[in-house]
Amino acid sequence: MLKVSRLRGPFITLVAGLVAGLSCAAVQAQSPSAPNLSNNCAGCHGTNGYSAKPMPIIAGLSQPYFSRVMRQFKNGERPSTIMGRLAKGYTDAEIDEMAAFFSSQIWKSPEQELNPAKIAKGREIHEEKCAVCHRDNGRFQNAETPRIAGQWSHYLEFVLQEYWRVGRKMPNRFMTIVVQPLTTSDISALSQFYASVK
């Protein structure tokens, strides 16, 4: 029979050590709360991610897409003016917390000043070249496909121009192949079309 007294000392020391180790790890690796992480984004992206133009609306983006794009910004796969510098400030887990926060908002498409002729032209191009992925007139979203219906037209134009520019290393080869043969007028039309979809 084991003598409890002989075991207790080292056992308690071991447990105490484990607990102390865990506490230390917890104190150093404290992760900010989801609201504290996400509320900072409002400075540029508006309260809860409902932005003023042309900063992109992020309220209502799908959770897997948000997580994926932030990782792309973080590892440099997707170029950016500022998002790369910011995304690097978060762990992947923190990014996922923010993704949960923003994806739990309901997408709202704002009123925009748009040109009907451009919208009509954009719809044609969409149906011919984009609808296969950007289903439901750009409302569809999954890990690879953002919701673009109802996004600010100026922002859509900016991203399309990113894909259009030769030499800018963008993460999605399909997009590059489809967008590069377009004209700037096509890009403007597409942006207006998707912006017009509620």
Partner: protein
Amino acid sequence: MLTRRRFLAALGYSAGLGLAPATALAGEVRYKARVVIVGGGYGGATTAKYLRLADPRVEVVLIEQDPEYVSCALSNEVLADERTLESLTFSYDGLSAFYGVKMVYDEATEIDPVNRKVKTAGGLKLDYDRLVVSPGVALRWDAIEGYDEAASQIMPHAWFAGEQTRLLRSQLDDVPEDGKVFIVAPPNPYKCPPGPYERAGLIAHLLWQHNKRQAKVIILDAKENFTKKALFFQAWEAHYPGMVEWVPGSKDGRVLAVDPQKRTLKTEFDEHRGDVVNVIPPQKAGRIAEVAGLTDDTGWCPVDPMTFESRLQDDIHVIGDACIAGAMPKSAYAANSQGKNCALAIQALINDNTPPEPSFVNTCYSIPAPGYGISVAAVYRLRDGEIVAVEGAGGVSPLEGSDWDWEREMEAAYARSWFVNITSDIFL
């Protein structure tokens, strides 16, 4: 009763957005606590809104001496005729109507931390359970010989937006073709680190537009370095070649005295005369913070970064420019970020919960020439009880590389969009 729909109509969202209704509850309200906030700027107004959003049973009283807020951020654009002061002016009506913030348009003159009361110039005595002090900066009138408040009517600082901005702008009309505009840049720390340098660019823009291309904008700096320095040099050279000069402290840039009547400035070894002299003096925490015993001998307010509680007085939080926030700069975005974290910390403390782990961001956009934007950004967290910038993250806009010049255009658009977004986040 105003519904939540109206306030985002300005941004174009026509339907309600389903945020927790935080308007003043009709009829008798039994608040569980009162939080008084002194200062309705980027820090205080943010805290007011986010506290009401977090807990509508907490009464929030905001003491602010001006009936409208004029944003200093982006006010340099007024100097270049790129925007109006009206576009920088915000009402507090949204905070009161949509969020039930109780506005008191008055000046807080005294704080009694023992009995937890705030006194105002108008004679009010407000009890508080918790107090947030967000007074911004005060200018040190004793720092540069000859530069007192009266002097600022001749040599404007324009470091608070409004009348001073108008004064500086109107003085620029009288700069002769080969005139000199001096900007005196302060030592660290001060509100808005890139501000003087963005101002230099935009003043040069105005002079350029008025065909005064032989004129000079000379920055006499107490410092050796400044934020986004290489980017500003690049911008000045690209847009106003030869017009903007920067004199660091080590090259006799530190201004010791000014004579407003003569429009002269004295450095250690030299004397200068300007047609327009913009003095941005050294700074410290806003007066009420000093009066209330919240400042240390640096003139700024030490706080616990977990909650922004003062290290010197109980139940009082200090946020924004006035506080010492580790690695964070004194900026609008920083004040807004701190205000949100502080609001959630206060909500926790009032409800006897542990304050949540904070997270902060700062992004400073500068527009040294119209349509040309640059930025510095950082993410902050606590480490070992201090606010530190996350390593490997943040940084400034690129100086070169593919598309860098195209990105300047986008950054200028984002800078202006940032302004609409943050002020909507605060006031709408």
